[in-house]
């Protein structure tokens, strides 16, 4: 059942269709909000606000202007911006090793599906195997590097690289030309490579110091 049909049923007040649509579309919105904010509570709030907006103003969606997915990402983006204007609690991932390890454990738990989400795939959050640490550390470093990118670049990386959207879809969600998305992504990747490249020797140096 495609999004259009589900949406028509939602307009008619069908709760089952809304649940189906929500379960299909919310993970990407939640991930986007989490990658953009670095804060689980904010990501949940934004996800809720996005779908509240869909419930209240479902007729604002115009299929001629883009996909439902792009529409929802656009709403999420607006909510995130509004929230940043309200409070400047920006992304602040920990530099400290202990904090980092805690975060990695939480990440691992969330990545596999936390016990609270009820999908049965949950790992206990703090049971991180030592041999996974290296890759988890890399993941956390990449997350941190993404979080420190300027907002426009971060959006491009999250949508095009992590959510695997095409340039066209991302352009629709970000309400900008395809060429802009392409150039932002290009620049963002160069910045990311730079950040990750610079960070590596520092970590090695601190390990030697210990």
């Amino acid at each position: 059942m495609d999004d259009g049909l589900l949406l028509r049923r939602v307009i008619a007040g069908d709760e089952g269709s809304f649940t189906l649509l929500y379960r299909r579309r919310h993970p990407a919105i939640y991930r986007f909000a989490l990658h953009m904010s670095g804060n689980v509570a904010v990501a949940e709030d934004v996800t809720q606000e996005v779908f509240m907006t869909l419930i209240r103003d479902v007729k604002k969606f115009d299929p001629a202007r883009g996909t439902l997915s792009s529409f929802l990402f656009g709403i999420a983006r607006n909510h995130l911006r509004r929230r940043w204007e309200q409070d400047r609690h920006s992304v602040a991932l920990p530099e400290d090793a202990d904090e980092l390890e805690t975060l990695l454990a939480v990440c691992a738990g969330a990545g596999k599906g936390s016990p609270s989400n009820g999908n049965g795939k949950a790992h206990a959050p703090f049971l991180v195997r030592r041999d996974e640490f290296t890759s988890l550390e890399t993941v956390a470093r990449v997350r941190q590097a993404i979080a420190t990118l300027p907002e426009n670049y971060r959006e491009a990386v999250v949508l095009c690289e992590l959510e695997e959207m095409s340039y066209e879809e991302a352009a629709s969600a970000l309400d900008c030309p395809v060429g802009t998305v392409r150039s932002r992504l290009h620049r963002a990747r160069a910045l990311l490579a730079e950040k990750l490249h610079d960070e590596q020797p520092l970590r090695r140096a601190s390990a030697v110091g210990e």
Binding site: V10, G13, E15, F18, T19, Y22, R23, H26, P27, Y30, R31, L34, H35, A43, E44, T47, Q48, F51, M52, I55, R56, C107, A108, A110, G111, K112, G113, S116, N117, G118, N119, K121, S135, L136, T138, V139, V142, R143, I146, V157, E161, L162, E163, E164, S166, Y167, R182, L185, H186, R189, L192, A193, L196, H197
Partner: protein, 246 residues
Amino acid sequence: MKDEAKLMDCTQFKEIYHELDRPGTSGYRFRERALSHAEGCPRCGALLTEGEALDFALRNLAERSAGWEASPRIEANLLRELQQVKLAGSRKRIRKQVAILGAAAAVLLALGIGVHQRVTSGARTASPEAANVAGSAAAGTAKDEVAGSSATPSESASAASASANQADENEYAEEFVPVPYADDPAALEGGAIVRVTLPRSALASFGLPITESEGTDRVSADLIVSQDGTPQAIRLVSQENANSDF
């Protein structure tokens, strides 16, 4: 291969190397040429390696975050909101329908009051004229164009004694009004009702007021005529009823 590599320079390579695996892009289209160029160019080769490492890291992050979901609390909140919106929508519809019905009722009520006021004010203006009729002592006869048929006037005789305030709007009277020189209505046994058309000016002789009319100068009236042929009472007939069979 080297010929192809020569077709791409470092500037071109830097433009597209980050999208070699992205279908629909120029990087994907010129992938082979870019790879050939990177083989022969150490700096671009290093860039490519760095880009591939970044791709790997990003893919890794994407895979790990693939299962992230908002807590079920959010879904429950949204379902509650959907129910409230539905409820509010149906309430709004009902309120709208009630408002429409209310407006229609108000319009009908206003119309009814308007008509009622018009009727009562018409009756009030007619009362003094009728009183004048009752008090008038003018005499006269109506001999013009007798057009009606005869009928037993016993019921009409009692109507003839009806008060003037029962007269119809303006100049038309529905009830018989005794002419000023009438005998006792009880003496009307055997009389007849005749329809006549007479000049408006002759109404005065029957004790009726002469009013200005937009219509013709002649009016239709029913007369109760006693056995000796003397008019005893009169009533004006409206135009709708003037042509009706008696």
